[in-house]
Amino acid sequence: MPPRPPVVAESIEDRVFAALSSPVRREVLRLLRDGGPQPVRQLADQFAMARPSFSEHLRVLREAGLVSERKEGRQRLYRLEPVPLADVQEWLTPYERFWRERMAALGDVLDRMEDA
């Protein structure tokens, strides 16, 4: 695979895609989706990396609008922001439609086949 030019985050959309290009950040989003809002410490404990590196990942997610942070007492609580993700889902829509059509066609083939 040829090396890619660095992604220059211009629009919010570019930022969302750049944010999603890291498996670590996708995993953070998954944790927030499945476990609801949670403190930074709880998220960081899931990853074997230095805290500053993890904070950097959170910053990228915040700037893309994918997560938001609020202070609660002495904790910083993170939550998932669903709107940009809905946009990302739309990015996959043509593929999903492709497969739904193919699987419907597969059903027609099965209906025509002799029972072996």
Binding site: V7, E13, A18, L92, E96, W99, M113
Partner: protein, 147 residues
């Protein structure tokens, strides 16, 4: 939403036994009837090429370099799909799993490996968000139909 933000999962129930669904997934002349023609062989490491309709909105060229990665008869078939089109870096894994359900089969497809950092795929997204959605081709088709 599927388990990963870059994964598609589609499933469908067929009122046919898994053995029959398996044949439709692995016999070339049957595959050609619902997916695309290609020289498929049920053999790990077998590579073949398939040609299908391009998916314009995504930059998918329609030419696929495929490889059989794993299989378990009547249960699982895993394939690598690489887009052979120029400048397209798509490198996907397709996993078909067959689950007996009543008198039929539930077939699940997991399509993994979408790369949010792929310029083509991001461009496709931009185009779609720019209003080039299904509504446009549909409206166009409606206009053409009246000619």
């Amino acid at each position: 939403m599927s388990q990963d933000l870059t994964t598609i999962e589609v499933d469908q129930f067929y009122p046919h036994p898994p053995s029959k669904v398996w044949r439709a997934l692995t016999e070339p002349e049957l595959i050609a009837q619902w997916l695309m023609p290609g020289d498929f062989r049920l053999e790990i490491g077998h590579r073949y090429t398939m040609r299908s309709r391009p998916v314009a909105a995504t930059g998918f060229s329609g030419l696929v370099e495929a490889e059989v990665l794993a299989f378990e008869p009547e249960k699982l078939l895993r394939l690598a799909w690489r887009d052979a089109g120029e400048g397209n870096t798509a490198d996907w894994t397709l996993t078909w799993t067959l689950h007996p359900e009543g008198h039929g089969t539930r077939l699940i497809l997991l399509h993994e490996g979408f790369d949010p950092d792929d310029p083509l795929q991001r461009q496709a997204h931009t185009i779609m968000n720019g209003g080039w959605r299904t509504g446009v081709p549909k409206a166009l088709a409606a206009v053409l139909a009246t000619w």
